[in-house]
């Protein structure tokens, strides 16, 4: 039972490039989330999705795009990467008890 998987685990990209981070869950949870984790800020919500084809902005959505065509997948796209988007990105789902479970993370470096 893999739960939540994220890919890639590590990514280095250049400023201005588009990059997509993938998130896949095997639980069929309705809610999925994208967070970024930075020193001094803790975990901050980027986007969330309540179900397939339903997405909404979180605390820090600028520069990011999401989609959710299938319940199990929730990709996060940086349309034109900037150095300030260097971070560790976590995908999470929420179960019926409203507890969130996190994936292993993607460490993104923008040079």
């Amino acid at each position: 039972d893999a739960g939540i998987t994220q890919s890639p685990r590590y990514k280095i990209t250049e400023t201005g490039r588009q990059v997509t981070l993938m998130c896949h869950q095997t639980w069929s949870h309705s809610y999925m989330f994208w967070y970024r984790q930075d020193l001094g800020h803790g975990l901050r919500l980027i986007y969330y999705s309540a179900a397939a084809d339903i997405t909404d902005k979180g605390e820090v959505p600028d520069g990011y795009v999401v989609s959710r065509s299938k319940t199990e997948n929730f990709p996060l796209t940086l349309e034109s990467a900037t150095r300030s988007q260097t971070s560790v990105y976590f995908c999470a789902t929420r179960d019926r008890f409203r507890e969130q479970y996190f994936g292993p993370g993607t460490r993104l470096t923008v040079t």
């Binding site: 800020h41 803790g42 975990l43 309540a50 409203r98 507890e99 969130q100 993370g105």
Partner: protein, 112 residues
């Protein structure tokens, strides 16, 4: 002003030396307080949810308690494998039922 403040930022203990981590919050109404453990290079791992003042939950050497303004994570006779960053998060009443506000965490190191 941060809504969720964790202290201390870092704590170093000897194996067997019990202690507590603090999470204080300033949200107007609490719909849940969550504790997570995060190991280096990994995602946060869910530990506990507390909903009302006076509630307590235990798991192995960890016990979480909740008052109206703060939560404590008590670690009894810790072992080196308890070393991790412990995160606290709150869900506020009146807001969206998905939104969690996280503290910055306490880095716990337990020396053998």
């Amino acid at each position: 002003e941060d809504q969720v403040t964790q202290s201390p930022e870092a704590l170093r203990l000897q194996e067997g030396e019990s202690s507590s981590l603090n999470c204080s919050y300033t949200v107007s109404g609490l719909r849940g307080l969550f504790w997570y453990r995060q190991d280096p290079g990994k995602g946060p791992e869910f530990l506990f949810t507390l909903y009302s003042a006076g509630e307590e939950k235990e798991k192995e050497r960890l016990k979480a308690t909740l008052t109206k303004k703060e939560s404590f994570l008590h670690i009894t006779a810790p072992k080196p494998e308890d070393s991790a960053t412990y995160l606290c998060a709150v869900r506020e009443s009146g807001g969206s039922n998905y939104k969690l506000t996280f503290g910055k965490g306490t880095l716990l190191t337990v020396n053998p």
